[in-house]
């Protein structure tokens, strides 16, 4: 069965302030959706709310992955059901090596009694690290500690590759990347494109989409998707910016929850 991911009327608040005001989006396996929009329009909140970050409270709406209610699940259950979020600011965790972390994550997915053998794990990890042009020493370093911005992003992609999720949300994966790193990260994503997997790419630059061609492009403003289209929409945004959309829709301030 092809993967089906449905966001239906999702509303979320942070500290009582509504940031998501009803998001509707349907994705199937094999599709790449891009969510674009200026800063402060709720894009990253959408990513965090989908994953279940405790800071955000979902107040309305429904999210299903292959018919299963995602919002009812704990964060770890969402991950095991096949949801993956590559974060904009991944945590640094001293004392936990990257490889220990990765192996724990893989094993959590596989379940007790079905743990991956050490040899197989190392072979997989080293193979993927090579693809991402990561130095093998990163396996033994503490998780994200002292990693540069680009190294952290590659490490997120490494995790995605090893965890083999059904729905991948990339939150500003391109921010802070130089052009080489961007190419490597994009290659990693492209290598993972398949009929079983859907991608939701959140970005406010079009340049990532030169490397990863989306099937659909959505524009977010004021906590809603205000416009959707094909890849040509991203091209136009690159050329003309967002003002024409604001004009078209009569929006003066595109941001949401920024009143303080």
């Amino acid at each position: 069965m092809a993967t089906q991911f449905v966001i239906d009327g999702l509303k979320a608040t942070i500290e009582g302030k509504e940031i998501l005001k009803g998001i509707n989006l349907e994705m199937k396996g094999g599709e790449v959706h891009a969510i674009m929009g200026p800063n402060g329009t709720g894009k990253s909140t959408l990513a965090s709310a989908l994953m279940g970050h405790p800071k955000y409270e979902v107040t309305d709406g429904k999210v299903t992955l292959d018919g299963e209610d995602v919002l009812e699940m704990e964060v770890d259950e969402r991950a095991r059901a096949g949801l993956f979020l590559a974060m904009q600011y991944p945590s640094e965790i001293a004392g936990v090596t990257n490889s220990d972390f990765l192996r724990s994550a893989i094993n959590a997915r596989r379940g007790e009694g079905n743990e991956i053998s050490l040899i197989k794990f190392i072979r997989q990890m080293e193979g993927k690290m090579k693809e991402l042009e990561m130095n093998q020493e990163f396996a033994h370093r503490y998780l994200n500690e002292g990693f540069s911005g680009g190294e952290k992003k590659r490490n997120e992609i490494l995790q995605m590759m090893l965890l083999d999720p059904k729905i991948v949300v990339l939150d500003e994966i391109d921010s802070g990347l130089d052009i080489d790193a961007l190419r490597i990260v994009a290659n990693g994503v492209n290598a993972m494109r398949s009929e079983e997997r859907g991608f939701l790419i959140i970005t406010h630059y079009q340049r990532l989409l030169n490397y990863i061609t989306p099937d659909y492009v959505h524009v977010m403003m004021q906590g809603r998707i205000v416009k959707s289209g094909g890849p040509e929409l991203a091209q136009r945004l690159e050329a003309e910016g967002y003002d024409w959309i604001k004009e078209e829709l009569g929006i003066e301030d595109e941001t949401v929850g920024q009143d303080e």
Binding site: E74, V75, D76, A79, I93, G95, V96, F101, A108
Partner: protein, 436 residues
């Protein structure tokens, strides 16, 4: 108030102790003198901890021990420290209750003039050397507990490394206590002569005992110019034992002391680890981890005192407190006038795992010289929920995520221990104390 009420030991006991060990007159006198002094002295000042309310009377009495000639005759609860069959047993000193019972040192080290034996034996066989250093770092009349220690000390270790000798294998001492009515007060004396190098590790262990006891240990380390001493210590004793440990190193020009301390004790503890950086270019590095559970009260102090120019001290303390345990974590960097270009950095971090656990981190900088650099960082808090979220977002269960984070919090210190066996041992204690 009579002496006996303050100091739960009488003069005759101390004199008899000296006689039973055939001690030279100066040492016998020192013990009695210390006992008399103990009655006049106050308890040490221990920041924010009311040790006067602790049961510090249960010193027991000196009890004779049976020396053994083979490792497998060492009491099982001590041998069990090394679960691993491959453990190096060639360089080990064992104390059981009030005295030394076993001692081994490999031949080539003996040939090079290394002395590694219990302190009682060293007093007899290397009297002049011991006399020169004993109680020179921790004075017998510093406070009441030091004085009682000087009166009652037993077993212990004497380690001497001659000039230019490098000992690569760790030398190991095991201090075991399984009789609460037997005095247990090991004294460790280490002298590393110029440009020598040595790794020393000790383990304090006890059987679980229902009666109260006091463990009163002192460590003195003398690091001569250009020498380096790596000192690791793991304490893991019963809940009824109060563990008072004073460790102090004197470091001369370009000398270096590295401390790694695992405070895995189950009872109340006062632990002070001090580096006195006397020499120019002398350096110290202290890493201490501690896990508190039950109703433990812990007072953990690391201290560096800079006299030497361009001296450098690094101190890291990490404590995990669960259940009702409470801890006071002090870091003291003292830079004396004249210690120009000195640098001292310290970090204290406490992780609290339950609402009733308590942890105070107190960084203290006392600086009397202008031309220095110093820094500190301290924090006390709960497991970082952002980190937990990150791990859970990869499918790891909350409980496992927290476990990984807590272990990770302590691991940078665990990996400082000089070999796999000790790291495994410390990890085992950590798991036990974390209730996992």
């Amino acid at each position: 108030m009579s002496t006996e009420m303050i100091v739960p030991v009488d003069r005759e006991t101390v004199a008899a102790l000296s006689r039973s060990k055939n001690e030279p007159a100066w040492l016998a006198e020192l013990r009695v003198q210390a006992l008399e002094k103990a009655a006049e002295l106050n308890l040490p000042i221990v920041e924010k901890t009311k040790i006067d309310r602790w049961n510090l009377q249960a010193y027991g009495t000196p009890t004779s021990v049976n020396a053994v000639t083979a490792w497998n005759e060492v009491p099982a609860f001590i041998r069990e420290v090394f679960e691993d069959e491959a453990a190096d047993l060639n360089n080990v000193v064992v104390q059981h209750n009030s005295g030394a019972v076993y001692s081994q040192l490999q031949e080539d080290l003996k040939q090079q003039g290394v002395i590694f034996t219990d302190l009682e034996t060293a007093v007899r066989e290397h009297e002049a050397l011991v006399k020169e250093y004993l109680f020179q770092a921790v004075a017998y009349d510093e406070h009441r507990i030091a004085a009682i220690h000087a009166a009652l000390w037993n077993g212990g270790v004497f380690l001497y490394v001659p000039k230019n000798v490098e000992v690569s294998v760790p030398l190991q001492a095991l201090f075991g206590h399984d009789n609460a009515s037997a005095t247990f007060a090991p004294h460790v004396l280490i002298v590393a002569d110029s440009n020598s190098r040595v790794n020393y590790v000790d383990n304090f262990i006890s059987a679980e005992m229902s009666e109260a006891s006091v463990i009163n240990g002192v460590v003195e380390v003398f690091v001569k110019s250009g020498a380096q001493v790596n000192y690791a210590s793991i304490h893991h004793m019963g809940a009824q034992a109060a563990d008072i440990s004073y460790r102090r190193a004197h470091v001369e020009n370009d000398g270096r002391i590295e401390w790694v301390v695992g405070e895995m004790h189950n009872g109340n503890a006062v632990s002070e680890t001090t580096s006195i950086l006397k020499g120019n270019g002398s350096t110290s590095d202290a890493k201490i981890i501690c896990v508190g559970n039950g109703e433990q009260k812990l007072n953990i102090t690391t201290k560096a005192v800079h006299f030497g120019k361009s001296s450098d001290s690094q101190m890291i303390t990490r404590a995990v407190m669960r259940e009702q345990a409470s801890s006071i974590i002090n870091g003291i960097t003292k830079i004396e006038k004249g210690a120009t270009k000195a640098n001292g950095e310290q970090t204290e971090r406490v992780l609290m795992l339950s609402p009733k656990a308590r942890g105070d981190a107190n960084p203290i900088l006392l600086i009397d010289e202008d031309d220095v650099t110093a820094g500190h960082a301290a924090s006390a808090g709960q497991v970082n929920q952002e980190q937990v979220f990150y791990m859970m977002s990869r499918g790891i269960k909350r409980e496992d995520a927290e476990k990984l984070i807590i272990r990770g919090f302590l691991d940078p210190v665990v990996t400082e221990l000089p070999n796999e066996e000790l790291q495994t041992l410390l990890r085992r204690y950590i798991e036990r104390k974390l209730g996992q």
